[in-house]
Symmetry: C2
Subunit: 332 residues, 2 copies
DNA sequence: TTGTAAGCGTTATCAC
DNA sequence: GTGATAACGCTTACAA
């Protein structure tokens, strides 16, 4: 591989000049510019990004930490992030935290040890304090799907409460009065918010809320099935179930069928997230869209702007979900 | 951030010695070793991986190129690859090629410009010749899901023919005699092999093959629906359809239902790949497992062994698929 | 077993 | 505008 030194010799200029045309940050006479460019071409010169990083103290790499790499959720996030950065000549290093505090911390150190210029964190297990400390240590990062007050200007979040509201309102507008709710782990911020939105819709329609109609699941398919069975047993008058995510909704679909309910006539079900499999269910799942891709893109923009001073588009930190109507909801 | 130099001063030894305990490749007296370790601890020293790369001419990074980052397929691949490398202290840089020749080539140069020590390539559009050239340029890489004779010892592949055979045999064993086949683009190697397996099973059971029963799709859901309608119209005696992947099988399920066939009694359907959504369909899809994760792990092992001389486990290059029985196949 | 010193391929600060 | 030259933080002969 040719080096900058060989280029400088061939072009008959100094090292520094070659570096200048490479980075075109300092004016260079057009004539010499062309000479250098020609020399580069001739040698098939490719700058060594490692040496650049060492000298400039920038790696042009961004670390991404997500809970899982598989699963229906993070593909589009990664995809859009990678895309944005690649166009800017940066690259992305990935790691998975598996929603485990120790692993999340390890992954963060790992990414830091890789000299990432910035991190995009989708973390669940680590505490707010830890993240604040990270900020105080001058680590550059953006948070996805989590809001920490002290870090307000680097949090990209979804309006989960509004999503929960939309889901339940959709049921109410279809004339449902007895609506079960299968929640995510209620200690999780998004689960709590989605549930709040549900309650708000209920209140708005003057429907009283009952403990009978609530089941706390764990966001996994199995708990959606369990929840459905539990709810329908406690309160067989239920005609609709709102699930706090699509996985649980899929479980609910299966369970409802096992209990002999026809779908959607015998039981309407709505999900949340609009993950990639949600239109493969039967009936195709009505759900709330989570704009993961856009949020990933925005996280990238934010870093491009704040860390690299590139890009001047405006930054949006909270995103609005919307309803995706498919076939799993009907009138009771 | 503390440097190796500060550590050496604090420990009262030379730069070189610190480097030695860091890499423990050269014997160091236990006593000094401990002094150095203590100094590192005290300073919270973290080696600068960029400087290490420049000096050692190794970046400890591996580039991964897949067609898509989203989609149901590549998550588990990435997940298992990342895992294997992280345990070995390496990291992974990702890129997407979108099955486009130009993009695939660009992505490969991009990854090379990042000084990756090796690449894992899941490419579709680039030619065999291009890959052979790449090898001749001494680029280190492993191919996933593709076999190129000259590159035989760096190809990790699935026995697609056997998979196709298993799928069709499963139908035959259930007593089906009129079996439709929805293929992937037949110019693709895996599509061709899967189809060959189908024919072999037919022959083995003494069932003649008919053009009427073949439909060439494009591996997408829509074409599975189209294919099902076309086949059932041409040959309504069909009682089973073998699809060359799960997406098309999902389309087939929907189309069959629209045509008023009950599932699986009125029509049995089998898929291929066992992607993440295949058990969310209704009925749950019977399919052929594609061990993406294991193949990713193996690709990582191969690189660890050949590029880093780490790991001495044996290398397996061809993987066998197996049947996953769920609910979409019954007797006719 | 340890130290010295020459790189690795850039960028960036000076002068000129 | 351009050219020397000192970093950047580490690895690795070669000596001792």
């Amino acid at each position: 591989m040719a080096t900058i030194y060989e280029v400088s010799k061939l072009a008959g200029v100094s090292l520094a000049t070659v570096s200048r045309v490479l980075n075109n940050n300092t004016p260079v006479k057009e004539e010499t510019r062309l000479k250098v460019l020609a020399a580069m071409e001739e040698l098939g010169y490719q700058p060594n990004s490692v040496a650049q990083s060492l000298a400039s103290n920038r790696s042009n790499s961004i670390g991404i930490l997500v809970p899982e790499l598989n699963g229906p959720f993070f593909g589009t996030l990664l995809s859009d992030i990678e895309n944005s950065f690649r166009q800017a000549g940066k690259h992305v290093i990935i790691a998975a935290g598996h929603s485990d505090e120790k692993l999340e911390k390890e992954s963060i150190s790992f990414l830091q040890s890789r000299n990432c210029d910035a991190l995009i964190l989708h973390v669940e297990a680590v505490t707010d304090e830890y993240l604040v400390e990270l900020m105080e240590k001058k680590v550059k990062f953006v948070l996805i799907n989590r809001f920490v007050p002290q870090l307000y200007d680097r949090c990209i979040t979804l309006n989960n409460q509004h999503g929960g509201y939309l889901a339940t309102r959709h049921m109410l507008e279809h004339g449902h009065q007895n609506i079960g709710y299968i929640s995510g782990p209620i200690w999780k911020h998004d689960a709590e918010q989605r549930y709040k939105g549900h309650l708000r819709a209920l209140t708005e329609f003057g429907i009283p809320h009952s403990e009978q109609l609530f089941y706390e699941g764990d966001y996994h398919e199995e708990s959606g099935a369990l929840g459905t069975k539990a709810l329908l047993q406690k309160a067989s008058e239920i005609t609709a179930i709102v699930c706090a995510n699509d996985e649980m909704a899929a479980g609910a679909l299966t369970a409802a069928r096992e209990l002999g309910r026809s779908l959607p006539d015998g039981l309407s079900i709505i999900g949340f997230d609009n993950v990639n499999f949600s239109h493969y269910t039967f009936p195709k799942l009505t759900t709330i869209n989570y704009p993961m891709g856009e949020m990933g893109k925005m996280a990238a923009q934010l870093i491009l702007k704040r860390v690299y001073q590139q890009n001047n588009s405006s930054i949006q930190t909270v995103f609005e979900p919307h309803l995706i109507e498919r076939d799993s909801v009907s009138r009771p």
